[in-house]
């Protein structure tokens, strides 16, 4: 491995991974942070969409349409997930787990272990490559455009009346109801949006790799949460707009560190998992420490204000 290879690898692998996983992080963000729901279905929903996207292409569906259908199917899954809680009163955590288990069968039926892009078929990236004639550049370019579009869309949406009421619903349902917000409706909308994002990421992932296994989503939630926490640790929690931006930067930093660890000689085979675990634990610990410090600070602030009054 020489320097040229190192930089080329980091320069291509980091953006590709970071751009896919920032969409996952955004989906996890909407569920975990905005709605306040621990949605466990992510790990199964991600490969569901990847596999579906590839299956549809293999069946002759144009790649963009295949991606779209995979996203809509994911939204359907999100709806079922939320309906389990809203209509059947099932605990949100349990509902997500039920969906995760339920998705196992369709994933298996569709992929039969591993699904590959059939020869002669094309993905949205292969399609673009006919213009650029450089596969990696095509992938990074298209992913960058999609990511940017999604982030801008997210920023816009959560600044609208509807988006604000979704955020309110997740943070304080009593106050939201008192202000005329249909919190059940918001819950459903939130999970559908979250699932759409996970589905988009999964569908893109499947087309990026041209293959997917049942298992390719394992660990998605952890990566998503790690990116969210890393973003908050590094950039704080100043505003919503900032949080979105920090997701992108955190995703890049996360993959940069992971990829660097991975190419260090001897590290990758023996210590990779341990190092990853330590890395993620560190992120979460610092995040929690910051939260406690912030709490103490705001209590002190409140006491000072009280004294002044």
């Amino acid at each position: 491995m020489n320097w040229a290879s190192v930089f080329y690898f980091l320069g291509t692998d980091v953006p590709l991974q970071a751009l896919v996983w920032v969409i996952v992080a955004l989906g996890v963000f909407v569920a975990f942070k905005v709605l306040g729901v621990a949605d466990m279905s992510v790990d199964a929903l991600f490969p569901f969409s990847a596999i579906l996207s590839l299956l549809l292409i293999n069946l002759g569906v144009p790649s963009i349409l295949a991606l779209l259908i995979a996203v809509i199917a994911s939204m359907g899954v999100g709806f079922i997930n939320s309906a389990l809680h809203v209509y059947l009163k099932i605990d949100p955590l349990l509902a997500g787990i039920i969906v995760m288990i339920a998705l196992y069968t369709p994933n298996l039926l569709m992929a039969k272990g591993t699904i590959s892009l059939a020869s002669g078929k094309s993905t949205i990236f292969i399609g673009l490559n006919s213009l650029f004639h450089n596969m990696i550049a095509s992938k990074i370019f298209l992913m960058a455009i999609i990511c940017l579009a999604i982030l801008i869309l997210a920023y816009w949406f959560f600044g609208t009346e509807l988006g604000l009421s979704l955020r309110a619903s997740g943070k304080n349902s009593s106050m939201s109801k008192a202000n005329g917000i249909n919190t059940n409706g918001m819950y459903i909308l939130g999970l559908v949006i979250s699932s759409a994002l996970i589905g988009l990421a999964g569908g893109l992932y499947g087309q990026l790799n041209t293959y997917s296994t049942n298992d390719s989503g394992r660990g998605s939630i952890v990566i998503g949460l790690a990116i969210i926490f890393l973003g908050e640790v590094i950039f704080g929690n100043k505003s919503f707009k900032f949080s979105l931006l920090s997701l992108l930067v955190a995703s890049i930093i996360y993959w940069l560190i992971l990829d660097i660890i991975q190419i260090l000689p001897d590290f990758s085979t023996t210590y990779l998992n341990l190092t990853k675990a330590i890395f993620i634990t560190l992120i979460v610990c610092v995040y929690e420490l910051k939260k406690t410090a912030k709490k103490k600070l705001s209590i002190r602030k409140a006491l000072i204000i009280k004294e002044e009054n």
């Binding site: 949406f157 600044g159 609208t160 009346e161 509807l162 988006g163 604000l164 009421s165 955020r167 309110a168 943070k171 304080n172 009593s174 106050m175 939201s176 109801k177 008192a178 202000n179 005329g180 917000i181 249909n182 919190t183 929690n237 919503f240 705001s298 602030k301 409140a302 204000i305 009280k306 009054n309």
Partner: protein, 255 residues
């Protein structure tokens, strides 16, 4: 005019049924400012929650200007009601800015669309409402609510409750969690807002003095029933001892 007809509320517990409200009747006239007192467990908070729609009554009706809203959900009748909770943290969202909180209240009862929530024009409305408070909040629209004190938060919650004129303002011991000085300020603000906006209001309070001093009508609730409904002239002449006497009388009648 708001009418409560024969409100009964039973709560099922493990071995028994708890009859909290036992056929309560009340007619609230426009511009009434009713103070509500009663011992713990008498059903005051339950009554407020039922009016707001947090949960339905076991039987009975709630009618707003001829419209029966008994079967509607809380968020569906929110356009009629402004609410201030006892806990300053319940009425606002600490993580987001004053401006964003007010934006949520501004659209109470309206359909939430994809229009931008923080339009510049709305800021004028917020500033106009915040300025008279003399808390300097109008210059801090972008600050997070969590940076405010409890009293400031309740002020904001009050404003949010009347930002869109409600048919009924519900105040559930909204000064109970505040220190006496701040409490006084909030009560003064409450009175002013009700007067300036010509609001109909119902205020639960533990403070007998406040119950006598504020409002034009005083209701005493005991064991799920209204045992006294005292109007303005008689109300002004009341003393705290009078109220205690009423409670004793009611208890003796129950036994």
């Amino acid at each position: 005019m708001i009418e409560l007809k024969n409100i009964v509320k039973d709560f099922d517990s493990a071995n028994s049924i708890n009859h909290v409200l036992k056929g309560l009747n009340l007619k609230i006239n426009d511009k009434d400012f009713i103070t509500v007192i009663g011992s713990n467990g008498s059903g005051k908070s339950t009554l407020l929650n039922i009016i707001a729609g947090s949960f339905p009554p076991t039987s009975g009706q709630i009618i707003f200007d001829g419209e029966d809203v008994t079967k509607t959900k809380e968020h569906q009748r929110a356009h009629l009601i402004g609410r201030v909770f006892q806990d300053p943290n319940t009425g606002t969202i600490g993580d987001i800015s004053i401006q964003e909180n007010l934006a949520i209240a501004l659209k109470r009862g309206e359909k939430r669309t994809l229009r931008w929530a923080l339009k510049k024009e709305y800021n004028d409305i917020y500033v106009r409402q915040l300025k008279p408070l003399n808390l300097g909040l109008e210059t801090r629209l972008g600050d997070k609510i969590s940076s405010l004190s409890g009293g400031q938060r309740q002020s904001v919650t009050l404003l949010m409750a009347v930002l869109k004129k409600p048919k009924l303002l519900l105040l559930d011991e909204h000064t109970a969690a505040l220190d006496p000085k701040t409490s006084k300020k909030i009560m003064a603000l409450t009175e002013k807002l009700i007067e300036d906006n010509g609001l109909t209001a119902m205020m639960i309070t533990h403070n007998m003095k406040d119950a006598i001093r504020y409002g034009n009508r005083l209701i005493m609730i005991s064991e799920g029933r209204i045992i006294a409904d005292i109007r303005k002239d008689k109300k002004d002449k009341l003393t705290i001892d009078d109220l205690y006497a009423q409670f004793d009388k009611a208890e003796k009648t129950e036994d």
